[in-house]
């Protein structure tokens, strides 16, 4: 979509390289599904409920993706598209600011012995500016000043959030905070501009105690950090003048003493252990960056992509407890970074992990996370569809790419033919390429009924001049892999990429509950919590989407069944996680596709049952079983039906298994990223590639990577946009 967006951009709005021709393009998008979005597609069922592929949250550093959406919504508004427009122009939201809202609350779960869980959650500070708006001098995060101030703010927020964890919460994660206060209240208290010490001497004393505890530890950590970095630099720099043995010994002794003090302090104050893990990780990353000379290497952070992030942290002195802490586990879980979906085999390239963390924490604008008010399909892909059509882009749905042939060799390889298998929608389905959206501007959850399936062949120079393959790597490998590998010259490049790039299957679920989250026992407000172990490592409260579902049903043209939707749904929770290959392989072997799909979906349903019975009490304490085992599986009794009433079952809930082709998630596996091929690389004269699996500057599966890759693909064809205009592309 990003490639189509850039290639269809009006000439006067292009930021192109002047050496390239300023051409106009006729663009046709061939989509195998009945809706746009691939892994990000979503739709509405017959009751208006949102059905997603997984949990989609936008990060505040998605500058390129947000910029595209801002431009898109601005054009849509200019052309009269929006919630009040007629059927051909209707969209659920009128602007980006309506479609997205900031989220600062994030959490990770930690498991202690005896199945005792505890959830840390904190609010990361808001910043000036909004993602996707011009990087003016006030909000530009890519400056020394911004890096320094963000570093201080984020560290302070992390430390405050840990210090602010109320006593008495041990053993009952998610329990009410004192006086029913939220984490937000506590963070506000810690901002001294709004805290009057004269009003509350007790609070003042408490704060002083907390500050003292924090100050001692921070000072110790600071000393240790400084000394250790100095020690590392002195030991590692080849060009440094030889230092006397005495100086080194003195520094070693100093570092040793500081470490001992820190260890002793933590030993007598377990409350600060979580905080020391944060400090230990920050310290280790800084030491590692200096030791491996990452900051000055022309390859930037890519220089350490050959090693797994956890191993890299251990190599540079982090303690095992920190490396296995919830913070690091959460980082892995959010990006599904496990070989074959096996939690025992973590795999995340260290350089990309740190780049991701730097971008995530230090270069966001407005808020670290941004939620969509509705489904990703209608929030992102509906306006893109409508505006692209207004730019004369043609869409052809239900076209599955079956075969691709190439001609030539060496430096003159070309795509000769594209063969599509085309499904014809039945007339009853009321589905056409021009009207794939419903009365509210949303995509449908289920595909339209089809009648016939025929093949269509397109020829180079006749039906197309250039092609961008923008599917997932598994589908690309399936269709083009063998033919590309047969080609003489670039043989090894394609082959290496196919061999080293791994994908993983994921599973998602959405459950509509008859209790709100306060009644379920979670009192800290809406949140995204990761590191819950499997099945489904991540939980997000998505109750805000109920408003979007209600608006769909309230539309005059909504189906009659939807208008009879019950009043009992009070909250909705989304879950997402790995789907281990061990749960898939034997289920799809030697059976037809439909049967294999059913078997895997049954497995996801079992996993959801397991989560709700055995793990839901971690974030919903009110459904915890009693000590005698009574009330076990209480969460199952609080499910709503698909038409919004009490007494629902698992079959009424949404379950998603994403394990085939482009639905799979691409991993940033150590030792693989250097073999990714950039859309800019000219290996085939009339073809390029796009997707978050390409070398796009940010090599981790996410919306931003997909958009950056699309922009590069457009550049490869037309020279626009200039790579300097792709924000973060040249980030080390």
């Amino acid at each position: 979509m990003a490639a189509a967006w850039e290639l269809s951009r009006p000439k006067e709005e292009r930021f192109r390289d002047p050496d390239y021709p300023d051409a106009e393009y006729e663009i046709t998008v061939y989509e195998q599904a009945w809706r746009l979005g691939g892994k990000g597609a979503s739709g509405r069922d017959e009751y208006g409920r949102i059905r997603e592929h997984g949990i989609h949250i936008w990060l505040g550093f998605y500058e390129n993706a947000f910029r595209m959406m801002r431009e898109c919504y601005a054009k849509a508004a200019k052309d009269g598209m929006g919630p009040t427009a007629d059927a051909d122009k209707v969209l659920p939201y009128a602007s980006v600011d309506q479609a997205f809202f900031p989220e600062q609350h994030i959490g990770v779960a930690t498991k202690y012995p005896n199945e005792l869980w505890r959830i840390w959650s904190g609010l990361l500070p808001p910043t000036e500016g909004l993602p996707g708006t011009p990087l003016d001098e006030e909000t530009n995060p890519f400056t020394l000043q911004a890096y320094l101030s963000r570093c201080l703010e984020v560290s302070k927020a992390l430390i405050h959030s840990i210090l602010a964890t109320p006593a008495g919460e041990e053993g009952s994660p998610g329990a009410p905070r004192p006086d029913g206060r939220s984490a937000l209240d506590e963070i506000l208290d810690l901002k001294f501009s709004s805290f009057n010490p004269l009003d509350s001497p007790t609070v003042l004393v408490e704060r002083m105690g907390e500050m003292l505890r924090g100050a001692v530890l921070t000072t110790a950590a600071g000393v240790l950090q400084g000394v250790t970095i100095l020690e590392t630099m002195l030991r590692q720099r080849d060009s440094a003048p030889p230092f006397s043995e005495g100086v080194l010994k003195f520094i070693e002794a100093l570092a040793g003493e500081a470490r001992k003090q820190l260890r002793d302090f933590v030993a007598i104050d377990p409350e600060t252990r979580l905080k020391t893990q944060v400090l230990d990780l920050i310290m280790t990353i800084m030491i590692g960056l200096v030791q491996d000379r990452v900051l000055t290497d022309p390859r930037g952070l890519d220089v350490i992509n050959h090693i797994d992030c956890k191993r890299w942290l251990l190599k540079h002195g982090a303690v095992v407890e920190s490396v296995e802490s919830a913070f690091v586990t959460g980082l892995y879980d959010l990006a599904f970074c496990y070989h074959r979906g096996d939690r025992k085999q973590p795999a995340l390239a260290a350089g990309q992990a740190i780049r991701g963390a730097l971008r995530m924490f230090f270069s966001y604008r407005g808020s670290i996370f941004w939620r969509m008010r509705g489904g990703m399909g209608e929030t992102v892909f509906s306006p893109l569809y409508r505006v692209l059509r207004s730019r004369n882009v043609t869409f052809k749905f239900l076209h599955t790419l079956k075969d691709v042939t190439f001609s030539g060799k060496g430096h003159d390889v070309r795509v000769e033919t594209l063969t599509f298998s085309v499904k014809e929608p039945s007339p009853q389905a009321k589905f056409t390429d021009d009207r794939p959206l419903d009365h509210f501007g949303c995509w449908r959850h289920l595909p339209p009924e089809t009648t016939a399936e025929t093949d269509t062949v397109l020829f180079d120079g006749k039906q197309f001049d250039a092609v961008v393959f923008a599917m997932g790597i598994d589908d690309f490998r399936r269709v083009c892999g063998k033919n590309l590998e047969k080609l003489e010259k670039p043989n090894t490049l394609w082959k290496r990429m196919f061999e080293t790039t791994e994908t993983v299957a994921t599973q998602g679920a959405q459950v509509w509950m008859t209790h709100d989250i306060n009644q379920l026992g979670w009192k800290r407000g809406s949140v995204l919590v990761s590191a819950l172990e499997g099945p489904f490592e991540t939980w997000a409260d998505m109750t805000h989407t109920l408003a979007a579902e209600h608006a769909w049903r309230a539309h005059p043209e909504a189906p009659e069944a939807a208008k009879r939707y019950g009043p009992d749904v009070k909250s909705v929770a989304y879950f997402c996680g790995l789907l281990p290959e061990s749960e898939i392989t034997h289920k799809v072997r030697k059976v037809d596709r439909d049967r294999g799909d059913n078997r895997v979906h049954a497995s996801v349903t079992r996993n959801l049952r397991k989560l709700l019975v055995e793990r839901a009490h971690v974030f919903w304490p009110a459904v915890a079983p009693r000590a005698d085992g009574r009330h076990r599986g209480r969460a199952l009794k609080l499910l709503a039906t698909d038409n919004g009433r009490k007494g629902g079952t698992l079959d009424h809930q949404h379950r998603q298994a994403s394990f085939r082709g482009s639905d799979r998630y691409t991993l940033a596996v150590p030792g693989s990223l250097q073999y990714r091929i950039s859309p800019l690389k000219r290996l085939v004269m009339n073809m390029t590639i796009a997707g978050d699996w390409t070398e796009c500057g940010f090599n981790e599966g996410c919306i931003e990577a997909a958009v950056m890759s699309g922009m590069l693909a457009a550049n490869a064809i037309s020279g626009s946009p200039n790579t300097n205009d792709i924000i973060g592309y040249h980030h080390p």
Binding site: D17, P21, Y25, P134, L135, G300, D412, G461, F464, I717
Partner: protein
């Protein structure tokens, strides 16, 4: 996708243009990016600062903003303290805090002014200290500060900086900027033209000499034969004076070589009339 053919391989077959790069430039400068600007309604997007020199310049400028922010923060703190004292019932604290605030503000500004003035004087010990620190930092971060990099710096490159460039020799690398005074030798006041120095580069050899240099400015754009005569000499306080005689020469950029009597070039000056 179908595209208007821009064929390199044949009359009707599209071929992708040859890419200028095939992957990101992960150099240190990529951490930074200049801000977007809007001029006459058109947006000029920022660019990553690709060279270490661009980055260092940007970092120095940002450093000034950090200092500004610190002053603002200190003033804000003083105001809040004053508010707290008032709430606590201290009647005469306002005057005390006002004085403190004023002192803090003036002290900070004076300190900055002193630092800037002192750092601008090449022979000042503070400047030597800053130079040493810059070299240490530069060597750690991999900035090209060694004398063998001089030739690289002289090659034309894109830069966001509009200040006069810094000297390229090792000895003078640390000088944040040269202080150049312009002295008009034209006796008729109405013929004195406004002059701005856009480039001032001197080698270490020139810095160490105390001689005066005759300079002749040539226009950079037009092929006119007009010349501007000037004299460049050192001042007692280690700054430079450019004595220049203007008449009715065309406006624009003018450039002059600074040469010794033997003809060795020791610097370049560029001015805008």
């Amino acid at each position: 996708m179908t595209a208007q053919a821009d064929s390199q391989a044949g009359p009707a077959r599209f071929s992708r243009p040859r890419p200028k790069l095939e992957g990101p430039n992960r150099g240190f400068g990529g951490y930074y990016r200049s801000s977007d600007h809007k001029v006459a309604g058109k947006v000029f997007r920022g660019v990553p600062l690709q060279t270490a020199e661009d980055t260092a310049v940007a970092a120095v400028r940002m450093g000034y903003r950090v200092i500004d922010a610190q002053i603002d923060r200190a003033l804000d703190m003083a105001r809040r303290l004053r508010g707290a004292a008032t709430r606590a019932g201290v009647k005469d604290s306002n005057d005390v805090l006002d004085q403190a605030e004023r002192m803090l503000s003036r002290g900070g500004l004076l300190a900055l002014e002193w630092l800037e003035t002192a750092a601008n004087r090449p022979e000042n010990p503070l400047m030597r200290l800053l130079a040493a620190e810059y070299r240490l930092l530069g060597s750690v971060l991999g900035f090209p500060i060694d004398s063998d990099k001089t030739s690289e710096k002289e090659t034309p490159k894109k830069s966001t900086d509009t200040q006069p460039s810094k000297p390229t020799s090792t000895a003078a690398t640390a000088a944040p900027s040269w202080r150049v005074r312009i002295h008009h030798t034209q006796p008729e006041v109405e013929k004195r033209r406004a002059i701005a120095i856009t480039k001032f580069e001197m080698t270490g050899a020139a810095v160490r000499r105390s001689a005066a240099y005759d300079v002749r400015f040539h226009p950079t754009s037009a092929a006119s034969g007009a010349l501007l005569k000037g004299l460049l000499r050192r001042e007692a306080n280690a700054g430079w004076v450019l004595e220049i005689l203007t008449e009715d020469e065309p406006s624009g950029r003018w450039r002059a070589a600074v040469c010794t009597a033997q003809g060795d070039q020791v610097g370049i000056i560029e001015i805008r009339l």
